[in-house]
């Protein structure tokens, strides 16, 4: 006889066993868009992430992800202290740019003490400095059709180059900067030398290191495997990493 109790217990077991197979279902993934909409609605699109006092910084800012790209091309750039490195800004822009590190350092600068939150759960606070991404986008003249900015990096995971992307709301946010300094020192290799993205309202994996090229695109479909970033493509992490 099937009692309510066995029915409930049985249903529970089936549901738990079924959990694994639902893990990547589109229903669950729809929460990413909902969370982006809700977060931007409640905090505001231009709201600043919390900023800290100098004495609130982490004593040690740990390195995570790629600690060194370890490619011949990157070694050649690093050996020359990135004198030959150029940041390309292209794609859907009126005036493609190719900027050296001194040129980037001579643009109007922003310094901010912010918290880096890893998707794994830890946080580190540090002072980042560099020009706002918006400054470069205005220099390059973003076209009306551009919807996303793709950040191409020098590091690779296996055969795949690291990349990330953000939309225009975050691209023009005042705290979104291209940092070349951490805690008043030139960015070291572990933290992404010579230049990394800071997009302070999202988790750490969005903060692309070892930047080589910023590409303005209308759609993310043609980039990488189409999900907007290395971890999004390969592991199913959320494209909007706001929580």
């Amino acid at each position: 006889m099937i009692t309510r109790r066995t029915l409930i217990l049985g249903t529970g077991t089936v549901m738990l066993a079924g959990c694994d197979s639902f893990t990547d279902s589109p229903v669950l993934l729809s929460a990413d868009d909902a969370n982006r909409f809700l977060q931007r609605s409640i905090t505001g699109r231009a709201a600043l992430a919390k900023q800290y006092r100098p004495d609130q910084r982490s004593p040690i800012f740990r390195v995570n992800g790629t600690a060194n790209p370890n490619t011949p091309e990157y070694y050649a750039l690093a050996a020359n202290r990135f004198a030959d490195w150029r940041l390309r800004v292209d794609g859907l822009v009126a005036r493609p740019l190719s900027l050296s590190l001194p040129q980037i350092q001579s643009l109007p600068q922003r310094a901010q003490i912010t918290r880096h939150d890893c998707v794994e759960g830890w946080s580190a606070i540090g002072k980042w400095q560099g020009p706002q991404l918006a400054t470069l986008l205005r220099l390059a003249g973003l076209r009306d059709t551009a919807r996303y900015l793709v950040f191409h990096c020098a590091d690779r995971f296996g055969a795949l180059p690291y990349y990330e992307s953000i939309d225009l709301v975050d691209a023009f946010h005042p705290q979104t900067i291209l940092a070349w300094a951490l805690n008043d020192r030139t960015l070291n290799i572990g933290h992404g030398a010579p230049l990394r993205l800071r997009v302070e309202r999202q988790l750490g994996y969005k903060h692309a290191k070892y930047l080589m090229r910023i590409e303005a695109v209308a759609s993310l479909a043609g980039v990488g495997q189409g999900k907007g970033g290395f971890w999004e493509d390969t592991n199913g992490y959320e494209w909007y990493a706001g929580i």
């Binding site: 009692t3 309510r4 109790r5 409930i8 549901m15 738990l16 959990c19 694994d20 893990t23 990547d24 279902s25 229903v27 669950l28 993934l29 729809s30 929460a31 990413d32 909902a34 969370n35 809700l38 977060q39 409640i42 905090t43 709201a47 992430a49 919390k50 800290y52 609130q56 910084r57 982490s58 004593p59 040690i60 740990r62 918290r115 939150d117 890893c118 998707v119 794994e120 759960g121 830890w122 946080s123 580190a124 606070i125 302070e200 309202r201 999202q202 988790l203 971890w231 592991n235 199913g236 992490y237 959320e238 706001g242 929580i243």
Partner: protein, 224 residues
């Protein structure tokens, strides 16, 4: 004698919330496994002192059962919305239909030492309801249910939100920092797990079939 004990909205919310909480605990333990250390303050990472460091939770306790931070986040961030909006709707509805005011309001006299001691003795003797007024919750039920609805669940939602990188600075400061919020989130989860264990034990002691049926059909048989 049967009494109609739980209204439809209460029953729907109970099961939706129970399922969400189970999914959130299972997926939350998997998320915790990605960095099984807890800190107090604004920051906290491997080189900073942790107040709690645990081994990884085993696969039978986590969702999914295999190691997947991304997969656990899919579950967690979806059911966080179900939990939060479910609670919001249940709260508004239960204020409107006066469930909260009628059934969960704790009166000062109920908190008198004599009443608490008397009710504790009654629990010890497995008498959980007042024969004069069998529909009414006893004081320990009221404290437990009100504690979950008005303290634990809101605390879990707010401490969860406070972990978002771009969240309101005042909310982060309310918890004393993002890593403190993460610790509070974990402690509140432990308290919720404690509630579930006691709740299920008391359902068993009070009469499993009768109690579960009342939360499905609404009708509860008054014990002789």
């Amino acid at each position: 004698m049967q009494v109609y004990r739980h209204r439809l909205i209460t029953r729907i919310w109970h099961w939706l919330n129970a399922f969400s909480v189970m999914v959130l605990i299972g997926s939350g333990l998997m998320i915790f496994n990605a960095h099984p250390r807890l800190y107090w303050g604004q920051y906290g990472a491997n080189f900073d002192p942790a107040w709690l460091e645990l081994p990884r939770w085993p696969g039978w306790m986590t969702i999914p059962s295999y190691y997947s931070l991304a997969g656990a986040r899919h579950w967690h961030l979806f059911f966080a919305l179900v939990l939060a909006f479910g609670l919001l709707i249940f709260m508004i509805w239960s204020l409107a239909n006066r469930h909260f005011q009628r059934d969960l309001r704790i009166r000062a006299a109920e908190l008198s030492p004599a009443n608490l001691a008397g009710d504790a003795r009654a629990h010890w003797g497995l008498r959980f309801h007042d024969p004069e007024n069998p529909r009414a919750y006893n004081i320990f039920q009221k404290i437990a249910y009100a504690g979950v609805i008005f303290v634990l669940l809101p605390l879990l939602i707010l401490s969860g939100l406070a972990m978002a990188p771009g969240m309101w600075p005042w909310l982060i400061d309310l918890f004393g920092g993002r890593q403190s919020a993460r610790s509070v989130h974990f402690i509140a989860m432990a308290a919720m797990s404690g509630f579930i264990v006691i709740h299920l034990a008391l359902v068993f002691l009070a009469g499993t079939i009768n109690e579960i049926r009342s939360m499905i059909t609404g009708w509860w048989k008054v014990p002789e």
